[in-house]
Each structure stands twice: as structure tokens, then as C-alpha cells.
């Protein structure tokens, strides 16, 4: 009798131990499944983000989109478009590396020229506020220049110089439009010297004359003076617009046309 009870107890104890072991195994399996779920979801998230970042990474130079024959019916004088005696003068301060300026140039400038400049109501001038250039990269220093100073070579300043050199050949607006259409990031090589020479070729400039101006840095003083002028106004961001001498609070094309219409005395 006592022997039989002892056997039953041992069997009972063994069953309890087996059940506990099975539960522990089930729990371990459940934990592995849950860890696998979290790990898999995290890995998928990281993979998706890595692909997105790769697809959208900085430094992808895009093709040069040559623009020629810009505004053939509108009077041009260097960086000025339109009738010199127009009742309203609009001055844009921009940087060729500034995306907002690129957006204005590619989406709104044609409308401005067609609606206001070509109709003789606005004289439109583009002036350089070349401030986005990275002067800390020590890429291609100007001989004798001090790193970190304004006469140091940077992509914003060099792009502005290229457009100014094109103005000498009466092609400012072609290079201006080509530069904005060829933007690609900032300080990532889109407007390195070789690409700016390629822009000159794509637009069809006289390369010898362009090189003499561009390599000789003939326009540097002019570009730096315009930057100081913009800072003195002060232009808070680019693109910045001055309408008949008044800096406007630019918030998109509609805000510019509203300021022009007001200056024109309400006519649209």
C-alpha cells in the first residue's frame, strides 16, 4: 500500500515536471516568435528607409538642361529684362543653389515676364545674393585667397560669376535659366567649375571669351558687391523681391503679383 502510494507520488511529480517543461518550451517558443516578429518588422523598416535614403541621397548630379532663346521678344540688357521706363521695377535677389529660387525660375518667372514684363509694366532685374556656397570644403581655392572668406571659391558664387560672364555675350537669361533648370543639391558639385564650363558649352557661348572672364574671375567683385547690397537691405531669405524700392514679404508668386499690382495702382 505504502509502496503503491510512493509510486503514484513519483508519477505525479514526473507529470508536473513534464508539464512545467512543456509550458517553459511553449513560452520560449512564443518569445522566439514575438522576438522574430519585432526583429522582422524592424529589419523591414530599416531596409525600406535605407532604400528611400539611397534613392533620395544627396550628390546626384543631374543632366544639364540647356535653355536657349529665353524671352526673345522682351528687351534685354544684361541681367535686366523689359522696358527701362516701365512704371514698376522688380528686383529679385537669388542664389543659383537656392531651391526656392529654382522653383520661382522654373514655375513662375515665365508668368511674370509674360504678364508684366512683356506688357511693358515691369522692369525685372535678377541680382545675385550668392550666400549658399560652402566655403569650408577647401575644394578649389583661389590662389592667394583665405579659406572662409568671400573671395574663396564656392558653387553659389561661381554660378553667379558664370551667369555674369554670359551677360557679356548677351546671354545672361539663357545661362540663368539653364542653371536653375540644372540645380542638384547644394555644394555637391552641380556648379563646380567644370560643370559651369559645360553649361557655357550647352548654351553655346563663345568659350574663349567665357573662359577669359570666368577663369580670370572678372565678375567676382560685382557678385560680392551684390551680396553686400542684399545683406544691407537686408534680404532675409532667397528669393527676395524688392518692388519699386520696397522689400516685400515674399510668400509665393501670388504675394509678388499682389505687390506689383499695388505698385501699379490696382490695375492687373
Amino acid at each position: 500500500m505504502g509502496k503503491g502510494a510512493g509510486r503514484r507520488d513519483r508519477r505525479q511529480a514526473a507529470r508536473v515536471a513534464r508539464e512545467r517543461q512543456m509550458r517553459a518550451r511553449a513560452q520560449a517558443a512564443a518569445r522566439r516568435r514575438q522576438l522574430g516578429l519585432v526583429g522582422g518588422a524592424v529589419a523591414l523598416a530599416v531596409l525600406v528607409v535605407a532604400l528611400l535614403i539611397y534613392a533620395n541621397r544627396p550628390g546626384q548630379a543631374e543632366e544639364i538642361e540647356a535653355r536657349t532663346g529665353e524671352y526673345p521678344t522682351v528687351p534685354q540688357a544684361g541681367r535686366v529684362l523689359g522696358d527701362a521706363n516701365a512704371p514698376v521695377t522688380v528686383v529679385e535677389y537669388g542664389d543659383y543653389q537656392c531651391p526656392g529660387c529654382g522653383q520661382f525660375a522654373t514655375e513662375s518667372e515665365d508668368d511674370l515676364v509674360e504678364d508684366y514684363v512683356a506688357t511693358g509694366r515691369v522692369r525685372y532685374e535678377y541680382r545675385d545674393f550668392a550666400f549658399l556656397g560652402d566655403r569650408t570644403l577647401d575644394r578649389t581655392p583661389v590662389p592667394g585667397a583665405t579659406p572662409g572668406t568671400d573671395d574663396y571659391r564656392d558653387e553659389s558664387t561661381r554660378a553667379a560669376e558664370a551667369a555674369a560672364c554670359a551677360a557679356d555675350q548677351g546671354r545672361f537669361w539663357d545661362v540663368h535659366a539653364t542653371l536653375f533648370a540644372s540645380q542638384s543639391g547644394e555644394n555637391e558639385g552641380a556648379f563646380e567649375d567644370d560643370r559651369l564650363r559645360a553649361v557655357a558649352d550647352a548654351v553655346g557661348l563663345d568659350r574663349a571669351a567665357f573662359d577669359a572672364c570666368f577663369d580670370g574671375r572678372v565678375k567676382l567683385g560685382e557678385i560680392l558687391a551684390m551680396k553686400e547690397e542684399a545683406r544691407a537691405i537686408p534680404v532675409p531669405s532667397t528669393p527676395g523681391f524688392v518692388v519699386n524700392g520696397q522689400l516685400i514679404d515674399y510668400r509665393g508668386y501670388d504675394s509678388l503679383t499682389a505687390a506689383i499690382d499695388a505698385a501699379l495702382g490696382g490695375q492687373s
Binding site: 518588422a41 544627396p58 531651391p99 529654382g102 549658399l132 532667397t238
Partner: protein, 148 residues
């Protein structure tokens, strides 16, 4: 009435605020005049090439993420038995959002050279959701009942 844990509530509040911010940025993407920027240069950031992926505005993607997070939170509340799986999904989604927001913040500072206060707000809200869902993962997905 079913109780809501503090981390789930925090996640929902951040996601709801995110819907507001991303919704506003979506409107501003299509109507630049609607963009009000007290700090930084939102116009430059919003018009940069990084503001879109394959033609889809980042703001729209962000709005979709926040709505999906709210949906996962609601589903978790309705179906507590799926809480572990739904929380893992919400955590992964918030992680993806936070990682991409980190990339965009780097781009703002190092490449575009302009900061957008709304983008920074959205990034912080995403990190808030990530932290809350991280706690949720520890308490639901990875919590296996012990012998009682």
C-alpha cells in the same frame, strides 16, 4: 469600458498632433502662401528636391504614416488579443519614420542649409511615437505570461 495604457495614449496623442502638422505641410506643399514659418526657412526646405520622393510629397507620406499609426492604435484598442502584433507593426512604422526624419534633418542642416520648424516638430512627434511604441513592445509583444 476598456482601459488605455499611458504609453498607448501618449502614442495616439503624438500621432494625432502629427496628423495636424503633416496635414498642414501637405496643404502648404500645394499652396506656398499657406506656409507660415516663424523660425528657419520653411520655403527653402519645402521647395527642395528632398521634399518629394518619386513625385510624392514627403508631407503626404508623413500624413499617411500618422494616420496608419492612429489606425493601428485604434485596432489595438478594439482587438486586445492582437496587441502584440499591432504594437510591433506600429513600432516598426514609427522607427522607419524616425529614421527618415533623422535623414531629412541631416539634409536640412548639412545640405540645404535651412531648417523648417514644422519638419522639426514632425520629427520630434515621430520620435515621441517611437518611444511610446517601444515601451508598448516591451510590455505587450515581448511580454510572455509566466507560470502563475
Amino acid at each position: 469600458m476598456r482601459g488605455v495604457s499611458a504609453w498607448a495614449l501618449a502614442s495616439a496623442v503624438c500621432a494625432l498632433a502629427g496628423v495636424g502638422v503633416a496635414g498642414y505641410l501637405t496643404v502648404a506643399h500645394y499652396d506656398d502662401a499657406a506656409l507660415v514659418c516663424g523660425l528657419g526657412d520653411c520655403h527653402t526646405v519645402q521647395s527642395s528636391r528632398y521634399a518629394e520622393i518619386a513625385g510624392v510629397p514627403i508631407a503626404v507620406l508623413g500624413l499617411g504614416m500618422y494616420l496608419a499609426l492612429l489606425g493601428l492604435g485604434a485596432a489595438r484598442w478594439r482587438r486586445p488579443t492582437w496587441a502584440g502584433t499591432l504594437t510591433a507593426l506600429a513600432f516598426a512604422l514609427a522607427l522607419a519614420g524616425a529614421l527618415y526624419a533623422a535623414f531629412l534633418t541631416y539634409v536640412e542642416v548639412a545640405v540645404i542649409d535651412a531648417i523648417c520648424q514644422w519638419c522639426v516638430a514632425s520629427a520630434l512627434l515621430t520620435v515621441g511615437v517611437l518611444a511610446a511604441e517601444g515601451i508598448g513592445v516591451a510590455r505587450t509583444t515581448l511580454a510572455v505570461p509566466t507560470d502563475g
